[in-house]
């Protein structure tokens, strides 16, 4: 008897020891994994939206007062509403992508869904980063054009400073502002890299798998 026939003898006795899934378990399996990554993108974007929303309500009073002094209240309001509307739109698009994935999709349809989701996430990241950069740039331009108001506000808040410190106040403020802006953008990029880019990589891996499987049919 050759080696494989010996193995065959054992192999064929092994049937009864194999696991056995019920109809319900098998049915559930069909519906699980396929759309889970896209679902995570949706959930995470909703969480992010909630965090930004919560941050908006915990802005300190001094900051609101500062914006008011600088004549930025209405511009800030418009900016905030616009960013929340666009954010909401992206959440809708993520939901749309998620809801479009059906277990009945063919491999090609699923591949298209993955591509669509990846595209949406990229636009979402680009929009968020670009809008943060543009907002910070516009605000800094506004501040530099209204230096007098800025110095007046700072002097009002800090009695220890005097009018002779004007140059130092301006330089200090803009250095502080630039550093804060860089940190904010850096943290956003880091978070997006950790969260969304990781999910996108997994989607890409899924896409490649599907591509290979598709090639063989």
């Amino acid at each position: 008897m050759n080696e494989l026939d010996l193995l065959k003898k054992h192999w064929q006795k092994a049937d009864e020891n194999l696991p056995n899934y019920s109809y319900e378990e098998l049915y559930k399996m069909l519906h699980k994994k396929s759309s889970s990554l896209v679902k995570w993108i949706l959930y995470i974007s909703i969480i992010e939206f909630a965090i930004w929303g919560a941050l908006y309500f915990v802005v300190p009073e001094s900051s609101n007062k500062f914006n008011k002094e600088m004549g930025l209240t209405s511009a800030m309001m418009i900016g905030t509403i616009l960013s929340f509307v666009v954010f909401g739109l992206f959440i809708f698009l993520f939901y749309y992508n998620y809801s479009r994935i059906r277990i009945t999709d063919s491999i090609k349809e699923l591949m298209q869904s993955i591509l669509r989701t990846r595209r949406t996430v990229y636009f979402f990241i680009i929009w968020n980063i670009a809008s943060a950069i543009i907002t910070l740039a516009l605000v800094s331009i506004h501040y530099s054009r209204n230096k007098e108001k800025l110095i007046e506000f700072v002097l009002e808040q800090n009695s220890s400073l005097s009018i002779e410190n004007t140059a130092a106040i301006t330089t200090g403020f803009f250095i502080g502002f630039t550093v804060t802006a860089i940190v904010v953008i850096g943290v956003m990029l880091l978070l997006y890299r950790i969260v969304y880019i990781r999910l996108l990589k997994r989607l890409k891996a899924n896409y490649k798998q599907l591509q290979e499987i598709n090639k063989n049919f």
């Binding site: 050759n2 080696e3 494989l4 010996l6 193995l7 065959k8 054992h10 192999w11 064929q12 006795k13 092994a14 049937d15 020891n17 194999l18 696991p19 056995n20 899934y21 019920s22 109809y23 098998l26 049915y27 399996m29 069909l30 699980k32 994994k33 396929s34 277990i103 009945t104 999709d105 063919s106 491999i107 699923l110 798998q209 290979e212 499987i213 063989n216 049919f217």
Partner: protein, 164 residues
């Protein structure tokens, strides 16, 4: 919502699930990976189900899609098998005529088979399932001659491992 087609598919899968379990046993080393691969195969089977035209047996079609999925998924992650993994993957077989030498050989053979490349593994699996060379060739999309040549090389290789 469950469609009629889904119902028929799950019923067929339930009846033939042993095929998928056997493939999972061949390509994974622990119950967790086994279940993962089982689910992956289930999903790919369902996705490919529209291509099942009924001109071949459901089980034959199943071997083709399931092996294809296993081969594709495990192509890059070449997992080396440790000796102790054998105990986790092997089945507890009641021996009517227990022969320690044969048991040791089977153990060695399982380990050796696990180290084959994914295509050869598929070939061995189909051979163990008592498939003819024609069926093996058809399932794996290779020629009959290729299947025979590969199989004879595998046999030589296994012989060398068991009788060094």
């Amino acid at each position: 919502m469950q469609t009629e087609q889904e119902h028929i598919f799950v019923k067929k899968l339930e009846k033939n699930q042993n095929i998928v379990h056997k493939i999972c046993t061949f390509y994974t080393n622990n119950p967790h990976d086994h279940k993962d691969l089982f689910q992956e195969i289930t999903i790919q089977l369902w996705r490919a189900y529209p291509s099942f035209r009924g001109d071949s047996k459901f089980s034959t079609w199943m071997y083709r899609v399931a092996l294809n999925t296993a081969i594709t998924l495990y192509r890059k992650s070449k997992r080396s098998i440790k000796a102790q993994d054998y105990d986790k993957i092997s089945f507890k077989i009641e021996y009517e005529d227990y022969d320690p030498t044969a048991d040791k050989q089977v153990k060695l053979l399982y380990e050796a088979v696990k180290q084959l490349n994914n295509i050869d593994k598929a070939l061995v699996l189909l051979y163990l399932e008592d498939k003819t060379y024609e069926e093996i060739a058809d399932t794996l999309g290779i020629t009959n001659v290729n299947a025979r040549v590969r199989m004879s090389r595998i046999k030589d290789k296994l012989k060398r491992i068991v009788n060094p």
